[in-house]
Symmetry: C2
Subunit: 134 residues, 2 copies
DNA sequence: CCGAATTTGCAAATGACTTGCATTTAACAA
DNA sequence: TTGTTAAATGCAAGTCATTTGCAAATTCGG
């Protein structure tokens, strides 16, 4: 009995990664499903996104917006493995990149002060974007 | 026909507020339900928490933890209406207070730079607390 | 090409949360 | 106090994102 060494980057997984990479901003599973070109079952998209996150190809966070409810949003990991934070417009449902995470010093401080081990930070802002204010 | 001026702070709503106030840390609807002394329907807890948040008596955020899934957590608003941020231990499911939100300057900067109107910020850290590391 | 292990599709299940509706509660005027 | 009426609650069913069990399809390694 041979154990397969590395699970496969299948067509669907690659296509899923392509979709979130091209998008350039966080996408929900439903949005991925709507954009993927391959015929694909919703459950497979969920599994595919799990896979990508597990392998470090994607990051995700759970965001709630009044109009779309609570969903998990995925974005492709950058080459440097930095993660960004985002502003979400509740009106047009668009994301604005707030740039690289700048929480490292703050997190370091908390870790030292409280003896905690931080494995993940979630930060996002919501409100109305410049365009929707007019 | 007279329109009633102010909806009521009913017994259940008051008891709900009491529960999250006494807890001192974020509580999910289920946790409130488990702690409230009055006989009360789950749906009413949800409605009650909505009410409290709408009136400014409570704040909430959605957090995902591997063991408990995705849930909204509520905490009582402080007298100064400051909101805190929290660390959540994925092992013992306890919250540690990270203190007052220190994002104001950062948010102000984003608002000016991007012309956005930020109505809400969500920040929390997850990981393993000091106790659970041993 | 064969056999084992992984992946996918499909359908049902889960779980948080919401909603419609009938009933109960409570505010307000008389 | 009592009747009227809006608001609050209980109950049950519905919604929606996500997960899971299982059978069928795919694919890797030999």
């Amino acid at each position: 009995m041979t154990t397969r060494k590395t699970p496969n980057m299948t067509k669907i997984r690659q296509a899923t990664l392509d979709v979130i990479t091209v998008a350039g901003h966080p996408l929900s599973a439903n949005e991925v499903l709507a954009r993927i070109l391959l015929p694909c079952n919703p459950a497979t998209i969920y599994r595919s996104l799990h896979y990508l996150e597990g392998k470090g190809y994607a990051h995700s966070f759970v965001l709630h917006c009044a109009e779309h409810g609570t969903e998990r949003y995925y974005m492709a990991t950058t080459p440097e493995n930095h993660h960004h934070h985002w502003f979400h417009c509740e009106q047009c449902h668009r994301f604005i990149d707030l740039g690289d995470c700048s929480l490292a010093p703050l997190i370091q401080e908390y870790q030292e002060k409280l003896g905690i081990q931080v494995t993940r930070d979630t930060l996002y802002l919501t409100g109305i974007c410049a365009t929707c204010q007019n």
